[in-house]
Amino acid sequence: MERRRFLGRMAGLAGALVLTGCDRLSRTTWFPPILDRAETLTRTVQRLITPRNALAKEYTEKDLSPTFRSNGTAEPDDEDYLALAQGGFADWRLSVGGLVEHPLELSLAELRAMPSRTQITRHDCVEGWSAIGKWTGVPLSAVLARAGVKPAARYVVFRCADPMDDTDDSNYYESIDMVDAYHPQTILAYGLNGAPLPVPNGAPLRLRVERQLGYKMAKYLMSIELVESFDAIAGGKGGYWEDRGYEWYAGI
């Protein structure tokens, strides 16, 4: 009986120590990078076994969510953006630059005149929920083809109109690699469920990367930049949430 009580107490004590230990490890600088090796492993394995152009499942009209949930920014807190929205985005331009042969400034009308793709896909948020929407937009590959990507380019960086806090330069941004950039379902969407993209969902233009989680699909796009590395951009992790500890590779 003594032994049993002793064992029980030891187990309780060990449990408490392990818990505080795990919390403390999470706050060190050296431990999380060890956990992050799993991200590299997951990305490598998923990329290895998934065909480059394997498509995310496409659904039918009857699967559509009645309203497509807005998450994160619902209306950018930015005067310039609000002025553009006031004018129906007539003066909005998407700039395409960085490692390209021909930098571009594309209006919404020009984007709509380009080849388009409509897809009904499932949006999976990192929080755990899913919603299904019908997206219409121009394949990113078409925009990249027009700009002429230089061979040194390895990532596409998306810069957004929405500041995430009061500090300067807190705007949302994201990045994907060339595998996802040229994927047939990677589009710059200007339409949702047959109507122009609403402001809460990222008007006038948002990214769709259907084989990754929602936070990769930047809203309120202002510019696209082809880069060799994103080390020097903001926190250096390739995205707003990535700079705050989320995985750059959000395929899982």
């Binding site: 032994r3 049993r4 064992l7 029980g8 392990v18 818990l19 795990c22 919390d23 999470s26 999380p32 060890i34 956990l35 992050d36 090796r37 799993a38 991200e39 492993l41 997951t42 998923q46 076994i49 998934t50 065909p51 394997a54 498509l55 995310a56 499942k57 659904y59 699967d63 969510s65 009645p66 309203t67 497509f68 949930r69 499932r122 999976d124 948020c125 990192v126 929080e127 755990g128 929920w129 899913s130 919603a131 299904i132 259907e210 084989r211 990754q212 989680l213 949430w241 705050r244 500890g245 989320y246 995985e247 395929g251 899982i252």
Partner: protein
């Protein structure tokens, strides 16, 4: 005194191989971390749904609210850190589990100790009654797993944990693109999330019963056998 290879009541004998002991404790750590970081991830959207999407107009099938911080990892609301722990130890669980299955089959541990023998299936009813009355075998009988124990181990290793991993992967948008339509066999992505949670609950229930049995059948003896490999065979039970 070196442990006996053959079991004699009242004496120590070698019960668990080094491989089984090492993999068992790796598993303890992995499941501990996976359950707690899993609850952390659940807390980011504490509702479960059936079907492909969460927004069909039907609403959630279960909405328990957030789990308290003392059973989540990390303790505070911190989704990104929970995911990092979860995916690291998911790999640990999968690699350790694959190694265990390979070992169990190759060493005949599976056939010898885990899969119920032909005549054993008929003893399930009696075994349930014995468990409910806390009647535990003594003597040499205690050196073999009883039929319920075998079924629990086989069920967790070959059914619950594989389902758990598969449903975890079912939540991965890249994995869903790899094999189109497979996650629909389980009802869709949100169903996969719900089943992942349910299978996790089964694992927690298994661990609770397992630890309970470890205690009521001789905590020290059982614990030693899983650390040093040596188990003292209990004396024959009086009839």
């Amino acid at each position: 005194m070196p442990p006996n290879e053959v079991a004699v009541p009242g004496r120590l004998y070698k019960r668990h191989s080094l491989a089984v002991r090492v993999m068992h404790w790796i598993n303890v750590v992995a499941i501990f971390v996976l359950v707690m970081s899993g609850l952390q991830i659940f807390n980011a959207h504490p509702a479960l749904y059936w079907g492909e999407s969460s927004y069909t107009g039907a609403g959630p099938i279960w909405e328990p609210g957030r789990f308290p911080g003392w059973i989540t990892l990390p303790g505070a609301q911190w989704l990104s850190m929970g995911r990092r722990w979860h995916f690291f130890f998911a790999w640990v669980l999968v690699i350790n589990g694959a190694a265990y299955v390979a070992y169990a089959v190759a060493s005949r541990h599976f056939k010898r100790d885990l899969w119920p023998a032909r005549g054993e299936w008929r003893t399930v009813g009696r075994s349930i009654a014995d468990h409910l009355r806390f009647r535990h075998p003594g003597g040499l009988e205690a050196t073999r797993y009883n039929v319920l124990q075998k079924l629990a181990y086989v069920g967790v290793v070959f059914a619950v944990l594989p389902l758990l991993v598969l449903m975890g992967l079912g939540m991965s948008p890249t994995f869903d693109a790899l094999v189109p339509g497979w996650v629909e066999l389980f009802g869709g992505r949100q169903s996969a999330r719900t089943l992942h949670f349910a299978a996790g609950a089964v694992v927690v229930a298994f661990v609770a019963v397992h630890v309970f049995e470890v205690f009521v059948t001789g905590a020290w003896n059982n614990l030693r056998s899983m650390v040093t490999g040596r188990y003292r065979v209990p004396p024959e039970r009086a009839p």
